[in-house]
Symmetry: C2
Subunit: 711 residues, 2 copies
């Protein structure tokens, strides 16, 4: 006998924080009345399919601060009674629930939204009761219209109002009592004029009983005094509200050791600080640094990771730990904690956050290898197992053994590492290969961190299988790298984007699109030249609200791959990879993409449509090399904004074709002229109706980024 | 910290019934080893998306006895380790779990099936562990192929096998120890020939270590000794296994009072018995009788429900209860309990079950009105509220008030009614308007009944909104009436069928298609004449495995509607409705559909493809009036059978067109001849490849029902 439960969550104890009637705000948002314990046999509404709901409520959905959370549910009951449905929600730390009335969408679906003014875990649940007065009113009006005698019905209505009056206080009680009396003394039916209006002052025009029954004042009084005695209560669910940067960000990855201005010198954090103006001018708001910790010397890899290091080779920053320290130390050649603090201050002045890399693995020289040998796996010959992906071997790296019996101690130490950098002022982390470490650990760690510091952002670098990638998002990673880097054709891009920007995936997964990384120089960039770099940049910057590039390799169009590994014909690694050496470039090269990058980031900042993903829609084009999509911010939010992008996906040839626009989505009437302004070039076009022509030359500008002006 | 839980169910206590190693069956099905309690931090596999799973496991899925249950789940872990996944299942009353190994389907999806030999609630859950030996073997083979030294790896493998030996007993322990020794003494690598084969008798050909590692015998020994110490355990879910008739049945509804052979005489249960041979000859296996209880006289309705009854009017059988008794009494004019027992015996001899109507409502003369006034709603004027659907009034019926404070007593009494008829031998019930009664009550009642009598079938007559209709199926109704009665066009039929015959809906909802009922004479039948009756009959009998007709109105093609209600232009009610009077027909009328009905039911019995719904597939036809679909029983079940139906949906004109067959689904190769035999006419056709032509004349035979012969 579990009729009063909905879905899978256990019924919460019904004794809730005391109701506080919010007398200053007579709208639909108010403190929720007390839920009292009802006999399950008398609970009639059913609540199903509440959303957002990730894996049966096992994980919170994600939301962005300031954006209202849309809650929907299927709610119905036996028979034909009307329902009163509400969403109760509770921001982190709040003492009581606040209620918002839900509105029916048809087909038994109901919706309400609640605001997100605080970061962190907000709880919510759907509550539904029979609306006896609304049911009575509907039936009575129908019977009266049909000419039936409604004297008994009016007496019944008076009973219902008297019952509501008992639950009210002060003015409300007096008003409801007056309404009840008006019904009780109206034996001639609904058209009886009431002797005095319960709410209007003396002298106001008198009204009929039928008018009174439909008065908004009565509606509001009844909502305030609703009886939750036999309420159905949905599962208690959660949304985690992230900072705006979790939803909308532009990342720039650079190797600090390459940031030095003079040839060959090992760059420093101070050099990074000196480059901040350039980064800010390009419009990025996150600068991500690969690991800044001491690098091991044992089995250090040489150029392109190929063989043993020569003396001058600096090693991979991901081979973390040396005599100078481990995950909480800074590589001496990069600088000191003071330099980092200075960098963070300088960045923040420019609206930029510095993201550090969390790579939980060790070089053989890491202090943990000596201090905590049980955190590593020992082989039958007494050696410690190094990383391998057979037949590949990474002798410069020892993976941490998350199956150690000392896992609790290990978890605490790893959490302390993250805590250490948060204390240094870091609020954004890029996590290296989280899918190769314990998922249980991440779930615990992220919960621990976010409970205290909900503003901290974690980007998961998990280029892995879909289920595992999604699981990381569910267990708390804020953003995720994606398959975008390998999706280049129209159909695969559209299919992928539709999957990740719509529920259920978009409820928990926030994509961050990278056209390149230090590990991935995709074939399309190797072969497509500057037009390909432009295309991929524009796609990343406009398809999803979070994107990033690995620079200066990207803006300089570096496209020479490493030699293929033995037995392979291709490589996605960079030639002379920065992972293994210091690389300094002349950044004033002709053909640099810096101006385009700066323009795209400006367009993103100025157009709210590009700052979230939910509205992404693809419009058919009759050419497989042309892709067209729009994003818009809904009307009525004060930020009415629609962006329409057309991209030529072919880096070699001009492509032209007809777009078949979904005009309704763009807010354009059929058979109407409308203006589109290309924000990349400043050109204006007047378009008409749904079919419109575009032609794009990749070597000039492979895309239009139109702002649509509704006329 | 909840990493070891999957989805929403709470982790079950891990101490399970003792493991019993089933030594007689070395296959993949066996008693499951004990699950021991693991530190949550060490549980690495993740189990998500287990199916079948209805509303997060809140309700059991439905299955049919003898049909294996297919369980699937997404299972994966961090990193690259191999997994060992299994489904543990437990039939009703079983003491321990039985395990079946799951096989990977790709993309982290796994599948297993388990058999259903018993009626009732079967439980199951998915369990997954890291397969350390398989992971080790895969990596070691790759490294050996790459020419790397695997001496340390072989020692590691020997450790794993020694660990397995510790968990084994007797012969298994000795064999595993021998395997471990073979690895330990193979320092030269995987191609070392073993000195003696651990499993083969002396004198058998010797094998290499690599051969041994991949021996099925070792595989099986390792499965038997798998370590579930850090297993992930999915939610405990359930499937309710129904009798075959729940899945596959043909219903015939008749009014017993009309079953008399002579003009005007009130029919009896004995008259129904006398008609059983006709019903059996038509091939039906459920005879459903509208309520057989005493009928109230107060406010009794007259002909066509229009006004007050004249003296001779028998009243509606749904106005239940009179001086002679209520829901556990038989209307005296129909006969006695003895007559019912005789009818049931005679029916069962013919393979027919008699279904009674459960209509929980009362006439004003029902004994409950006097004995339990609190079960009805009293109005302010002291009267009892009669049923109404404003502006319509049903003064001959008092609805039961499920919100009575005496609901527990009410529930017990209603359950006693059902129990009473079960004790009389009834195992099939058609429930009248269950959606207008308490859902909590039904959930409780159905659980109570089925716990003791899992063979009992309940058909929900809930012509209501989709969510509510589905909810009734979830809470335990075996079958449901559907919207088929109103779906006549190709697109709406296909869309609806695809919704209800595929998961998630098909996991809990079993449709029963009725082309007519005593309440519904659809416009298409009113206007389409005999061809429409043939079309709708063929659709109902072949689209879903459960169907029924209200006869003899259907086989006689009765198509005259009642006069429209005031203000309406159409009526779906029958003229001279049997609901309000005794109707006797000459059943030997020319044009009777009896031969077609008998043939269709024969075809259904002889073709297993028509006995379930999951394989239903629509094939495109280039004519909107022609619909084509197939059903098949999969190869390898011993019942290889494919039925292909083409129906002309236009009752007035011949329609012809080209079908574009999905040949793969039919088991036909491209560019191949195949034979189709029309089971309605006996005609054979040789078809070729995917495009084939049909032409159907509605007044001759509006459909082909082909059996496809694969050559």
């Amino acid at each position: 006998m579990v009729a009063a439960r909905a879905d899978c969550s256990r019924r919460k104890k019904n004794e809730e924080a005391d109701a506080v009637t919010n007398d200053t705000d007579p709208a639909t948002v108010e403190r929720a009345p007390r839920l009292t314990k009802a006999a399950v046999g008398l609970v009639r509404p059913v609540i199903e399919g509440v959303r957002p709901q990730v894996d049966c409520g096992r994980y919170p959905a994600k939301a962005s601060i300031g954006e209202p959370v849309i809650v929907e549910a299927d709610i119905f009951c036996d028979g034909h009674d009307a329902l009163s449905c509400e969403v109760r929600h509770r921001p982190p730390g709040a003492r009581g629930w606040t209620s918002v009335a839900m509105a029916p969408l048809g087909n038994d679906r109901w919706r309400a939204t609640f605001p997100t003014k605080d970061l962190g875990r907000h709880r919510f649940q759907v509550v539904a009761v029979i609306d006896r007065f609304a049911s009575w009113r509907r039936d009575t009006l129908v019977k009266a219209n049909d000419g039936q005698d409604v004297a008994v019905d009016l007496a019944l209505g008076a009973q219902l109002l008297t019952g509501a009056a008992v639950r009210a206080k002060g003015v409300g009680r007096r008003a409801l009592t007056a309404y009840a009396e008006a019904l009780a003394v109206a034996p001639r039916g609904l058209e009886t004029t009431v002797a005095h209006d319960p709410l209007l002052s003396e002298g106001a025009p008198l009204r009929t009983v039928a008018d009174l029954l439909q008065a908004p004042e009565l509606e509001h009084l009844l909502w305030r005094t609703r009886d939750l005695g036999a309420a159905a209560v949905g599962p208690e669910l959660a949304v985690f509200v992230d900072p705006e940067r979790a939803r909308f960000s532009a990342w720039y990855e650079l190797f600090p050791r390459s940031a030095g201005m003079r040839g060959g010198r090992h760059g420093t954090l101070a050099d990074v600080e000196a480059r901040l103006d350039e980064v800010a001018a390009m419009g990025f708001d996150v600068v991500y640094l690969p690991p800044i910790h001491p690098i091991g010397t044992t089995n250090r890899k040489g150029a392109d990771g190929g063989g043993a290091a020569r003396r001058a080779d600096p090693g991979s920053p991901w081979a973390i730990g040396a005599r100078e320290g481990g995950h909480t130390a800074i590589h001496p050649e990069l600088g000191t904690e003071k330099d980092l603090a200075s960098l963070l201050r300088a960045a923040r002045r420019r609206g930029i956050e510095v993201a550090l890399d969390v790579a939980f693995q060790c070089s053989p020289d890491h202090p943990w290898v000596r201090e905590h040998p049980s955190w590593f796996r020992h082989l039958p010959d007494g050696s410690i197992r190094y990383a391998e992906n057979p037949p590949k071997r990474y002798e410069d790296i020892y993976p941490i053994d998350f199956e150690t019996p000392q896992w609790r101690e290990l978890w605490d130490e790893l959490a302390a590492v993250v805590g250490y950098w948060i204390d240094q002022g870091i609020t954004v982390f890029r996590v290296d290969n989280p899918h190769t470490k314990s998922l249980a650990f991440w779930e615990w760690l992220l919960a621990e961190v976010k409970a205290k510091r909900p503003e901290v952002i974690f980007l998961a670098e998990a280029f892995t299988r879909p289920r595992l990638m999604y699981r990381l998002a569910k267990i708390g990673f804020t953003q995720s790298y994606t398959y975008f880097t390998w999706r280049t054709e129209k159909t695969e891009l559209q299919t992928y984007l539709e999957e990740i920007t719509q529920p259920p995936v978009s409820d928990f997964f926030q994509p961050n699109f990278w056209p390149n990384t230090p590990d991935i120089l995709h074939k399309s960039l190797q072969e497509g030249g500057r037009p390909a770099f432009m295309q991929r940049l524009i796609l990343a910057a406009t398809l999803t609200a979070n994107y990033g590039i690995y620079g200066p390799a990207y803006e300089l169009g570096e496209n020479v791959p490493a030699r293929p590994a033995p037995g392979k014909t291709e490589s996605e690694e960079y030639m002379d990879s920065e992972k293994y050496e210091v690389r300094q470039r002349s950044r004033n090269q002709p053909g640099s993409l810096v101006p385009l990058i700066a323009l795209l980031n400006k367009i993103r900042r100025e157009n709210p449509a590009l700052q979230s993903n939910g509205s992404l829609h693809f419009h058919p084009v009759d050419n497989p090399n042309l892709m067209c999509y729009s994003k818009s911010v809904k009307e009525g939010t004060g930020d009415d904004n629609t962006i329409l992008v057309a991209v030529n996906l072919d880096p070699f040839n001009e492509q032209a074709g007809w777009i078949d626009l979904d005009l309704k989505l763009l807010g354009i009437s059929y058979d109407q002229n409308f203006d589109v302004e290309d924000l990349l070039t400043g050109s204006h076009y007047t378009w008409r109706d749904r079919s419109n022509y575009v032609a794009l030359r990749p070597n000039v500008m492979p895309a239009h980024v139109f702002r649509v002006a509704r006329t």
